[in-house]
Symmetry: D3
Subunit: 167 residues, 6 copies
């Protein structure tokens, strides 16, 4: 019953199964954060496009422009981080064997997120969403969870791949 | 066509409707981040409880203990931030009128998140999840979106309130 | 004298009193950080207004505009975080009983901070300061500490509610 | 009235005076943040010393130990950042001329903050507070603001140098 | 000479070449940050191993243990971020064509960094360094810069791949 | 072999030598991060100057302007942090004795970094680089490591002081 911090010979490995899956290990991965981040980028593009319809911008609108660009940037970084985390922590050999496109798809998401950050372009950002949705689809497939396509219940009302968790 | 940053007399308010809802304004709010953060806290408690079954901890297990406690802490802060953002940015008078318990519920979530951070206690953390699920339920109700209860497709396989987006 | 990490039967609760007050528990709360953050927002508005007097902005002034807007944004987030921390960690039932307006006031501070972030408007930001000062006044009252109104010793030289700690 | 971002010949320098003082320039500097951070370090040491009186630590107390150490660390970094900001942004030649000890004092604060981070030692952390209080005293002197010594109205009830803003 | 923010027909693309390389676009990529982060992880392992030689740990040594584990964790995240940034922002089709192993190598670095975070194991962390050094070697090759192997001039005095910039 | 967290009588000081050098203590200091941060600032100035050659900016170019200014700002903060860390953690009395200019040089770097943040000026930013290179030169001298001047292998192709680690 004594706490022995120097018990190096301990052979039990309580986390063995868990450590096959994640970084803590915790096993909680969900592409929804990345998907929400892309939606936010699209929303920022839409608001920027709305702003662009003005003939001129007031000082305050210029500040709004800055905040929109900055939020788009932040969420672009978020997409990269979230996808990197799933790809780099959860995706292992078994998932690569069943979905050999994962390396290429992940890399394409990185490049697409860069493009979406550098531009104010709905089509470019939507193309990022498509790739992230495809990533989500594969992810849920590796977990044996069915998916469906649903329209997100807020602007920009784009289609997301959701896990189907209804019994 | 000239960009006039000093056009303060500009009376058009392209964001008027939007600014009734959020901070950018962006309208993208989703309690799922807060829900995932609580799930992660529960998962950390489960892994800590698993660790507790050891008679003694090796140096490496002690480091694991630290990482679990630290992740639990981080996600406890996340819950508070995410709920505060929805309550403080999205919830306005109309939502308070239809759901007068929102102030009290939000405050209880803060206290419950503190308790879940200070303790390693599944019941305490589950109680936080219940409150956050209730918050999610109200949130989707204010958006006119139906919800369902589903078991999250990863450990700790607890029940979450999800929006029902399937047509 | 042996360190027993598995001593779950331990009934002593050395932090009981402390845990009634904060998140570590640490008991060190001070609204001054939130107050300084609002002052900074007002200062940014003043510098932006000064910038607005120019007929045109040089490239460098445009960069200054960006830095001012970005600092205002950052401190707007800070206000929300700081007030949320005191309200969500320190304010408990006894404080709510003696000051029933605390939920409403805290929520109003969130909305006012959003408004101050979205606009470049001295009156709006000053209104945020008034609410935060009122929050500080109540806070010190719950601690039994007298307060006084003093002019902050730097721009924007607005009035803050300070604790009176002089014997 | 036209916004001309390319007006490089613009000779007006609206911020000249301001830029003599700070980084935005904003002129809002206050050592109170650094002082509060040291107080928090002392408080963490006190709570750690309280924890040390236990013959053994439960799992939960071990987690508390971790949180206390982590908060102490965080606030140690904060002290360094806050003092560096005032010294590196606000302190210029005039202040150095009137207070030639500022370089040495600032450097000593850095070393003392390192020591306070590395140890769990009240005397070491109190020595850091003394240096930070001395820094605050000089700071207010450079602003022509009188100071007084007051006991902070929360644990660890140590003496701080406060500006005297009461008319 | 007028600043026209609505000049959407503008066909000049001053950043075209640059945008082929990075995210701002800025072209400044250097694997040295990732390499230093791994060195720090190795150093933390060495200090942890040193700590392990004690028969028992004092309260303060236990705090040191926590700080070492926490720094190791932080730098493990840093490695992942830094390598992801170069791979996801700089590596494009030409680099993939000349070095087809880049996807696999990057993914292996992610898994190795996870392992180095989860364990306190010099061999595991050294294996991460080898992969990161290999990544650096390829990186400099794609830039046409010669490299050499040098011993880093501080503990843990391991070998790094450095660019050879001496004329 | 028992882990005794309360062993305060422990007289062995395994980190004594190490604690003379750094904050963990870890001994890994390298001015390269600060040098890369200044290079990035210069690069941003160059890209901003390139942008300035346009008669007018499109919406997207305006967003690029924002991202460049924001990156310049971020790296300006980084320079300050990195230099402060070496000066405040590593530089002790022996280094001050052999290089008495260190306090003044460090302070000048802070002021120069502020100037480089506030302006879009290549000469100002280059002057910051010179000071940081001088700092690096002294730093390597205190470690007994020879240095050489090399042109950094990416834009802005400026000269850096590098350690000479080739046997």
């Amino acid at each position: 019953m004594i706490y022995n911090i120097l018990a190096f010979f301990d052979n039990r490995k309580p986390f063995e199964q868990a450590s096959a899956h994640c970084d803590i290990p915790c096993k909680i991965y969900d592409p929804i954060s990345a998907q929400l981040a892309v939606l936010t980028m699209i929303r920022m593009v839409d608001l920027l496009d709305e702003l662009k319809t003005n003939e001129s911008l007031s000082f305050e609108q210029q500040a709004t422009f800055n905040r929109l660009v900055s939020e788009k940037e932040t969420h672009g970084k978020q997409v990269k981080e979230d996808i990197r985390a799933i790809w780099g922590d959860y995706i292992k050999q078994p998932q690569l064997d069943s979905h050999p496109e994962l390396h290429k798809l992940t890399h394409e998401i990185m490049l697409a997120a860069s493009a979406a950050k550098q531009k104010i372009d709905r089509a470019v950002t939507l193309s990022l969403l498509n790739k992230v949705n495809r990533f989500a689809e594969i992810f849920w497939q590796t977990k044996g969870v069915a998916v469906y396509q649903g329209t997100c219940p807020y602007p920009p009302t784009e289609i997301l791949v959701y896990p189907d968790l209804k019994a």
